[in-house]
Amino acid sequence: MDKLKRRSLKVLGASLGAGAFAVAMEPLRAFTAGLTLDQFLRSHFRELDPEELKDLLSRLEQEASEKIGRPVTMRADPPIEGVQFGYALNLSVCVGCRKCAEACHIENNHDRATNNSYIRVLEMDQGSLDLERGNADYDHPVPQPGKYYLPIQCQQCENPPCVKVCPVEATWKEPDGIVVVDYDWCIGCRYCEAACPYHARRFNWTAPVVPPAEVNTDQGYLSNRIRPQGVMEKCTFCLHRTRRGEMPACLEACPTGARVFGDLADENSPIRWVLANKRVFVLKEELGTRPRFFYFFDK
């Protein structure tokens, strides 16, 4: 009798244990829904070998294409050797028309409902550089007398506080100076958003909603592909364009020619001429972030 009792207790215990384990693991199964084991156990972006990168890009390309019903190209252009990207903006010429923010909105597949953009244009009192008092929501003809307009996007700092605080190395500085985010590695803790003194990082409270017909299908893994919900995003100087020689979308949209983009390592480039001949300044220099985004006035 004892033997029988013991055996049935064993069976009962084992089935209870298995059941409890299944219940305990259930949230993990839900969390990883639609994710294969390979994807879940993927290496860090910078450690992917060419074969893994190719698989990753083709999987994302296929998913993105299926989602909008049109072919999407998903690329991960490497930095160009010897090139150091930099940006300068002439505040005497900027009229605050927000064409740059609009171009960014379209180029980078931003959420239509929030009219999100990596560029925030502040309407500032002439003579003031107090960013706290800048107005990003102005909606009247520009330029207004007594005001100047200060577009702010990621400053691609040499000493980026946002990179330092990331607990999972989901954001890093590329050799050409661009600070990037791997949206598939980011855990959405928003430490970087808090660390950035320029308010250049945004959190995706929802996945961006863009009508399929309006999606920019020229996409980059580290730049303008449509971000998932719950991750950080930021300006990448349009690296999917600039790493193949093109200009950033915000520069091409500027109707006053206020923006100068180029290779800081090329001493004959227009941006080097600006740095050598204009009285350039950077925002919040005292913080030691050493931005790669320079501002200047003509007079």
Binding site: E81, C97, R98, G134, D137, L251, G257
Partner: protein
């Protein structure tokens, strides 16, 4: 020792797999091979330098343009007026806000005899070279323009690729050159806007 043909085939397979592998790895962009010398930046030549829009439309709905010289090579104009208000035929109603300049500061009074513009020293200048006319007063802007720091630069940031930049009159109306006020694109409706959302004011 494998048969020579087998070995050749094996090498071919290895080589082709290497080539295929190379194609898969994203290659860094490089300027075209001819790029050892910087290419000159092309300055646009907007139509309005040499012709004027009429109210007529062509079959595609585009405004019909008439070359300045259609009239100015044939008709003898009256002595040059000082401002558009003095005109009683053609170009009436032209908005003019360009300092204290008069028509004859830039335009030639007897255009039928050659180019339509003149520099401050009297040298005649075709409209296609209007840049030089602007540059004689706007030196700092012209210097910046020459260095790629004024007027925008399109095409590429690399001097080995094809690049274009705007002509003065692409952005400025030569008769009223200040950039007019514009209605800006819509502001963000994000929760991080300066005024906050109704829920999180």
């Amino acid at each position: 020792m494998p048969h020579p043909t087998t070995r050749t085939l094996a090498w071919l397979a290895v080589a082709s797999s290497l080539v295929a592998c190379k194609e898969d790895v994203p290659q860094a962009w490089a300027a075209p091979a001819s790029a050892s010398q910087p290419l000159p930046i092309e300055v646009r030549q907007p139509l309005k330098l040499t012709s004027i829009e009429t109210h007529e439309r062509d079959s595609l709905g585009r405004p019909v343009r008439i070359a300045c010289t259609t009239c100015h090579s044939l008709k003898t104009t009256a002595p040059m007026p000082t401002s558009p208000a003095d005109l009683d035929e053609f170009h009436q109603g032209l908005t003019f806000r360009h300092g204290s300049l008069a028509c004859a500061s830039c335009h030639v009074a007897e255009p039928e005899s050659g180019p339509l513009l003149h520099l401050a020293d009297g040298q005649r200048l075709p409209t296609s070279q209007a840049l030089r006319l602007c540059a004689q007063c706007h030196g700092p802007q012209y210097r910046d323009f020459e260095k790629g720091a004024h007027g925008g630069l399109e095409g590429s940031w690399d001097d080995g690729a094809v690049r274009t930049k705007n002509h003065c009159v692409d952005c400025h109306d030569s008769h009223a050159p200040a950039i007019p006020k514009v209605i800006p694109a819509a502001p963000p409706r994000a929760r991080d806007s300066a005024e906050g959302t109704p829920d999180h004011g």
